[in-house]
């Protein structure tokens, strides 16, 4: 895949998923991991983990994927392709009075959101088949869920605490 083809793919996936980071994940998994085979599940998960612990938009895992595949140029072009659809805002602002009556747009978006939820859950199952192959992986998975949902920790401390606990358990397990 060329850099330009990758940028077009990012633009298309962004438009398809309305720029929602998690909703774009199944598209990348299908397109780059399964069909093209140029990205591993591990790389995609690492990119997603980065986007969860860094400030700013949650869809910046695309920048990370661009860097992994094409270096700095890939990261920057992927970011540009990611935000380019935001310029649709300019004509929309000018045609606002007409657009506000487009209830169908909101119904379409609502249907899209519902489908996205199902897609992300399906992606979780598919990715889990690769990442959750060891009991200690399950411990890290469940600890992250617990820290985030029950204790209400931010992503970074949740990730670090679960990961470090898992690493200690892996070390103990091996010895």
């Amino acid at each position: 895949m060329t850099l330009i083809a990758f940028a077009i793919l990012v633009f298309t996936f962004t438009v398809m998923a309305f720029g929602n980071g998690p909703a774009m994940l199944p598209l990348f998994q299908k397109g780059l991991v399964e069909e093209q085979g140029i990205l591993s599940v591990e790389q995609m998960l690492y990119a997603f983990a980065i986007s969860q612990v860094t400030p700013g938009q949650a869809n910046l895992f695309v920048t990370s994927v661009g860097f992994m595949l094409f270096g700095l140029g890939g990261a920057l072009l992927a970011t540009l392709a990611l935000v380019a659809p935001a310029y649709f805002m300019l004509p929309l602002m000018h045609g606002y009075e007409r657009v506000r009556k487009w209830v169908v747009v909101r119904r379409f978006t609502r249907g899209l959101t519902s489908a996205s939820v199902g897609l992300i859950l399906a992606a979780t199952v598919q990715i889990g088949q690769t990442s959750l192959t060891h009991p200690i992986g399950w411990v890290a998975f469940l600890l992250t869920l617990g820290f985030s949902r029950l204790v209400k920790w931010k992503p970074l401390p949740s990730l670090l605490a679960a990961s470090c606990t898992g690493m200690i358990l892996v070390t103990v397990w091996k010895h």
């Binding site: 935001a86 489908a115 990961s163």
Partner: protein
């Protein structure tokens, strides 16, 4: 959130643009440093533009937000373009968008570079064994968060379940499922939402 309170024209006329390029840079850089993704960014923008600097009315802010939700990009990026144009024309959009993205992009590139450099290191291998399952948990959490309004007896839940089965049982392509979900939503939700 989709309630549009006033027209764009009224909102713009109510206040004179008073943000310089430097102000735009500062406001959107601060927003770009916010954690929590889109909601964190939008909360920071609201605090800066409506609260602290008082250069945008709440009505105009909500209008831009609602329009941003209709844009097939991140809402916060669309708002950066909207407010950037409002205060600084096309150059303003570049300043707002660039400063919004800068912190996240720089940190993302640095952390990815660290990963690509250290990926053969045994320590990273050990970390991956626990980091990747933790990242998988974040994907599940994202689905739960996005689906807060979906997980109830509703047509939304039926669509979500159909999409789930479409991938795992029938092996359909996610693009087809998203398009199908949007089109079915446009038809099935008729009469469920009031016009803005």
């Amino acid at each position: 959130l989709f309630v549009l309170h006033s027209s764009l024209g009224n909102g713009d006329a109510a206040l004179t643009p008073t943000l310089t390029y430097r102000d735009l840079f500062q406001v959107f850089l601060k927003a770009g440093l916010a954690f929590g993704g889109g909601p964190g960014i939008i909360a920071t923008l609201e605090d800066e533009l409506v609260g602290r600097r008082q250069v945008v009315t709440r009505e105009e802010f909500l209008t831009k937000y609602a329009l941003g939700r209709m844009i097939p990009a991140g809402t916060s990026a669309a708002m950066a373009v909207g407010f950037g144009y409002r205060f600084g024309g096309l150059l303003g959009t570049a300043v707002a968008l660039g400063s919004l993205l800068m912190p996240g992009v720089v940190l993302t590139i640095l952390l990815t570079a660290a990963f690509t450099t250290l990926q053969d290191n045994p320590f990273l291998g050990l970390l991956s064994a626990t980091l990747l399952p933790a990242a998988t948990a974040f994907i599940l959490l994202a689905a739960v968060k996005l689906g807060e309004d979906v997980f109830r007896p509703s047509l939304d839940l039926v669509l979500a379940a159909a999409a789930f089965a479409g991938v795992l049982v029938f092996g359909l392509h996610p693009v087809l499922i998203l398009l199908g979900g949007g089109l079915l939503g446009a038809i099935a939700f008729r009469g469920e939402e009031k016009p803005a």
